[in-house]
Symmetry: C2
Subunit: 467 residues, 2 copies
């Protein structure tokens, strides 16, 4: 495709996306197709001859669009939001157009140095500790996801811990990727230890953690990493990071803080308390601009207080990657900070977002989402047929119909049937969680297109569905 053909088709695609974003509300939120429907509508064999680009765009509309669940729909409330904003899309487009590899500083210095700048900027915006900055012993790096970031943190922690039977500490509310990271890293199944949570707050119990660490140490294990969560996936619960950190310090264990969803809320000064304990204790911290901070997937930022064990754990320098800049030690080679070798120029999209919105724009976005979630929680709480679960100051509301006449088991089944009925309607999309044996609905606000009326429409649909 020549540059001039690219110019022509590129503008068609921009128009397609602008039209899509302007009309996304007209689609059912959740795709109504069944297994195999899309596959059967596509040719079984690849084309022998090239086709005009317009054919591909036409099939996008005709064949693929019915199979899309619209994450940018203003009534998409399932999972945490995956904010795709204009500047992020365009930053990512520039990355594709440049087509550079950022694996080494030498393979495109701007890709590395812009990344260093934007992760330092974000650390400042979130008021994260100075030791997370690249001009101190630590540093930040963009990963594809918090799953990978947590695995990378575990590898660094293992490097620091030295040899032995490594153990990893999570809670029942920790994201499943931590258990999976332990599995990937070759920890024994029994060496991923689940610390009990407070049954009311669902927060990790630091005393239980301390007891477990003592017992494991006595049994000859090498306690390696504790993961505390700020904003759990199921209910956005907040682990007591400072108390957990104190326990970690006493036992010399790496404290990793998973703030994948909620961490970005700290752009707002009034929410900085969520990070209490991070400055004093955290060895690593991850939050995802690709969830709630208007930056397209993938953009998960991991910071470390000390980058040395990470680089020791992951560096490899075969001959064909040797170069004077790397040998000088004056540059960062981010390939040593991540699982894959190759890497996209992902800093461009975060840069474009931070410049377009500015700190004040990001704060406004977070505050809007929280205000809408609070308003929704108030609507639910005002209806005696419903119950709101312990509510945290983020964009997620967990709630359930009371079903006073039903057993817990039957109430849970009725709640699941309600979720399916609502999702089948195409009017909105929710997920569920199980909290203390009870199934609850999860409604996550925070998409940039979501306005007050969409939240009210959702509530009307939910009310009507239980009538």
């Amino acid at each position: 495709m020549s540059p001039e053909e690219f110019r022509k088709h590129g503008k068609q695609v921009i128009d397609w996306i602008a039209d899509y974003l302007a009309s996304v509300e007209s689609h059912p939120v959740r795709s109504p197709v069944g297994p195999g429907d899309i596959r059967r509508a596509l040719p079984s064999h690849p084309p022998e001859h090239g086709e005009p680009f317009e054919h591909t765009l036409a099939d996008l509309d005709r064949v693929l669009l019915p199979g899309i669940t619209h994450w940018q729909h203003p009534r998409f409330f399932a999972y945490f939001p995956a904010n795709a904003s204009g500047p992020a899309i365009l930053g990512d487009l520039l990355s594709s157009g440049l087509g550079v590899q950022g694996m080494l500083w030498a393979t495109s210095p701007a890709a590395t140095e812009l990344e260093t700048v934007v992760v330092d900027w974000l650390a400042e915006l979130l008021d994260l500790p100075r030791r997370f900055r690249t001009d101190e012993a630590g540093g930040g790096v963009i990963q594809d996801s918090a799953s990978s970031a947590s695995l990378v943190a575990l590898l660094a922690a293992r490097q620091r811990a030295g040899a032995g039977r490594h153990t990893l500490y999570v809670s029942s509310q920790t994201h499943s990727s931590l258990e999976r990271a332990g599995r990937i890293a070759g920890l024994g199944a029994g060496d991923v230890r689940a610390v009990e949570v407070d049954p009311d707050t669902l927060a990790m119990d630091p005393d239980r953690l301390a007891a477990l660490l003592e017992r494991d140490r006595a049994d000859g294990a090498v306690p390696t990493l504790v993961c505390a969560t700020i904003g759990t996936t199921a209910t956005t619960a907040i682990d007591p990071v400072a108390r957990i950190g104190e326990v970690c310090r006493q036992h010399g264990v790496w404290l990793h803080v998973d703030a994948a969803y909620a961490g970005v809320a700290a752009v707002c000064p009034e929410l900085r308390w969520i990070n209490d304990g991070v400055a004093a204790y955290a060895d690593s911290y991850v939050t995802n601009p690709h969830k709630w901070l208007l930056t397209n997937f993938d953009c998960s930022v991991l910071w470390l207080a000390d980058r040395a064990p990470l680089i020791d754990a992951l560096s490899a320098l075969p001959e064909y990657l040797r170069n004077p800049a790397t040998s000088s030690g004056e540059v960062i080679d981010y390939r040593d900070w991540q699982l894959p070798l190759g890497r996209r120029f992902r800093a461009l999209k975060l840069w474009a977002v931070l410049r377009w919105y500015g700190a004040e724009g990001l704060r406004a976005h977070i505050r809007d989402g929280i205000a809408l979630a609070d308003e929704f929680a108030d609507l639910v709480a005002a209806d005696p047929r419903f119950e709101v679960s312990d509510h945290h100051p983020f964009g997620l509301v967990c709630f359930r119909p009371r079903y006073p006449e039903l057993s817990t088991e039957d109430a849970n089944a009725a709640t699941m049937a309600l979720v399916e009925r609502l999702n089948d309607s195409g009017e909105l999309y929710l997920t569920h969680a199980v909290v203390g044996g009870r199934t609850v609905l999860r409604l996550a606000v925070g998409g940039p297109a979501t306005q007050r009326r969409h939240v009210h429409q959702a509530w009307e649909a939910i009310r009507a569905a239980v009538s």
Copy 2:
């Protein structure tokens, strides 16, 4: 950013990229900046207020572009090519615009089903065995890189192998990501075993492999995975896959084939012999459309002959991901096929590429690259001051000045100085490798913008530099 603002700025970005691609030849190939130059040119603090998008575009030109090494430059011959083509850029742009998560079938059925279709299409285009297709026991999946794909293959192999001290078999020519995968997965340092290579062909010696496997098995190890390479990074050497596969079968070891760079060449029927042994023996196979097949990074395709151990190794199903489609068993959830949980809709770009070029366009692209590499190798071979290393039928030429008057050590230093001098010129960009103790230059052809004249210009520059 509203849809209308996006429309406006999107077209500015498309124009920027079209202009960039049309003029990329006017830039020095390798960025001339020094460590810290770009970082110092950027503000130390993030902006408080949002800025017009034009400011970001202006800084892209003014601040970042001097720090870019131009991978799409027609005289970029360093590393393997990272083909960024128009349809791939636009497919990726559509993925950003839709902003959907493909972690589960249910979270956007089209993202999963289109991926299944395009990886099956690509298996057909490369004439890979039928058992790699999704309608048999195997299946393909798009990964971010061959590094991650190889780690995923190792995890599946370990799952199949069962408990014990796992050992991994590579050669001195295997990509460094395999050793790194072993490290990540928690294998002991001594459990990544380097099999000796034939000193002439640099191919793994199957007899040495068999001896090592026997000894390790006798020592109580659980030989887990052997990695054979089709097209090594340093010199594009080809391991004898069929003979290695026979050894693997005898010992019940997983055979992973790393064809990251060269595998896509099998779109040409006359090159299908490079995969000899794959159909009979390979348990997994990876090749990267993001290198030589006109698809932007990241797009690495991993196929497995049996998907079951992979899913067993990586599946996790927390409550909030439970859904009727997953429970039915009728759908693929690709989150179980990769390291992270989240995933972009990457199939769109591969789909756009396969449709725009068609099989015949892809074949023409590969053949063009090989013809140019052959022509360059002939030019070098015809000059008595140079020596071409064992040449393989791909886009890479390894060669060196003879320096008959110098010791090997001094000749190597002179070759390295030559590489730096050439790269400093900005006229072309090369890398080096060390083959049998001798430093050689690597010139990799295959970028879509590279024409005959660029290869001749490179040769003139190299000749002049040794005069």
